[in-house]
Assembly symmetry: C2
Homo-oligomer: 128 residues x 2
Amino acid sequence: MAHHSRLSKIVIDVPPDGHDRELAFWSAALGQQLRQGEHYPEYHGAALHGQEIGLLIQRLGDGPGRVHLDIHTDDVAAEVARLEDLGAERVQLVDSWWIMRDPAGLVFCVVPEPGDALNDSNAHRWDG
Amino acid sequence: MAHHSRLSKIVIDVPPDGHDRELAFWSAALGQQLRQGEHYPEYHGAALHGQEIGLLIQRLGDGPGRVHLDIHTDDVAAEVARLEDLGAERVQLVDSWWIMRDPAGLVFCVVPEPGDALNDSNAHRWDG
């Protein structure tokens, strides 16, 4: 079974104290309104001007600020297994997505892309 | 005078010890060869599949690994001034680009895009 994946989101994770200021900064810096998520109100995001990749600002419960990457895929289980084989480690399952850690210890996520949004023209196809 | 800018690169900064492993991981994870820079051999990069945004892996001299964002612009001075007005701070000028810090303290860079690669269709236009 083949599946697809692509690097799809840049997520800026911000502790509560600095969140509103950070959100205002990046929205103005990029000239785009970052809309609050309905199901996940701790996220504000937008597609980036002229690009398929998107930016999210996430309000963290605690911990230091950081930037992390999201890989979107039409098969989370297959993609997580593929990345484990490459040396990444699972950290935690959150709802439908996996938090993972890359070989340098940096956190990234593997997130399901609903429907058939991913295809051979806009994502990498992995033949299993 | 108007100028343009856009979020253009995701940079994964890696200390020397874990660099080669990290580079191999992300190259395989994304299914793209990340080529070493000629002028700046501490960077390996590629445009991302189907997208205008690119990924770079940077070998750091020291300090912990992290992810940072690069904003590309056709007028570094104007863009840095604009971002300062929004609350960012200058950290250091490196060759032709500025390292800056956003309101949450996260590092990002403002990098000149040579030629007329940026225009109204692929970047945000700021009227000064």
